[in-house]
Amino acid sequence: MPAFHEEASVAAVVHEVLEKLPGVGVLVVDDGSTDATTAVARAAGARVATLPFNLGVGGAMRLGFKYALANGYTTVVQVDSDGQHDPSGVPALLAQLDSHDVVLGARFAGEGDYTTRGPRAWAMKVLASILSRTAHTKLTDTTSGFKASGPRAVALFAEHYPAEYLGDTIEALVIAARAGLSITQVPVAMRPRSAGVPSQNFVRSAIYLARAGVALVFAYIRPKSAYRVTGAVTATGAQV
């Protein structure tokens, strides 16, 4: 769970995860927040890794994957700390991991009442169609942060997780696809944020799209060798 200035919502999300998914390990990565995110998450019963300064979601996630790798977890599920993702959806994601390496929780696949409007929705559609072609499967919501990664994906992402902001979702999929991992999606319901401020407006959407485009182009033209993973991973079974 990457968290940046989420002291208002992180505790509830941690509680919910622990409650709905007994037996999982919860790691909150505090991405250099200046508020009480770390203390609140720790009090809620999560393990918390605190970054000394803000790296962006990509950095926080890579840390999560590294932690998973170092501690013998073979499966990682990313859940946002703002309460948007419903932990009840996690088993559905995990069910697909037997046959795929990366499973996305998609918002527009016919479940839930999450809607976006205007340029952002349009941008998401464009990105989704490009990525669907790369991943050889139909993806409808590529900017979803709600995703599960199997052992091969964990090994790959621990080393090559895009650092650029927003690369965290889109670029990660390109990296996974180009590294030969299989990707799929399952429909999930998403909720509005339980607290905090959503980071969306028109200008931001435009900048977001531009950056997504740039990140995407470079993810595609990078040499394949850039995504090589050292050390093979074979173990399966444990769940995070």
């Binding site: 990565v29 393990r47 890794a49 970054l51 000394p52 790296l55 950095g59 590294k66």
Partner: protein, 119 residues
């Protein structure tokens, strides 16, 4: 060319070299970054002392106005330096990022080692 401008050229070139060498001496600049600045300073000094070399070089390259050669070389050097700096910066950023991740992981590990397990 008047004596004044001739002297001005030499003095400014010498000044560049002196500053770069002084910074190197005081470890304010690493050798690998200084190389371009030294090259630029030496070039400027040579041209300052022997302006005819500039005319000759421009003639060889078929450049009509020798001054344009100066601008071209100057801009080229600045461009290379800026590019080198950007590349270094990128490398440093990714190293810093990795360090931050490691620090956070180590901190978490230390915390877990120090607190006895409750379950």
């Amino acid at each position: 060319m008047s004596v004044a401008s001739y002297v001005l050229g030499i003095v400014s070139a010498a000044l560049i070299l002196i500053v770069v060498i002084e910074m190197l001496r005081r470890h304010r600049l690493r050798e690998r970054h200084a190389i371009w600045w030294v090259v630029a300073g030496v070039l400027a000094l040579v041209i300052g002392i022997f302006p005819s070399t500039l005319d000759w070089a421009a003639g060889v390259l078929g450049i009509q106005v020798p001054t344009n050669l100066v601008f071209f070389v100057g801009i080229a050097i600045l461009f290379l330096v800026a590019l080198q700096s950007s590349a270094e910066l990128t490398k440093l950023e990714s190293k810093t990022r990795t360090l931050a991740e490691q620090v956070a992981l180590l901190e978490l590990r230390i915390r877990e080692l120090e607190t006895p397990p409750k379950d």
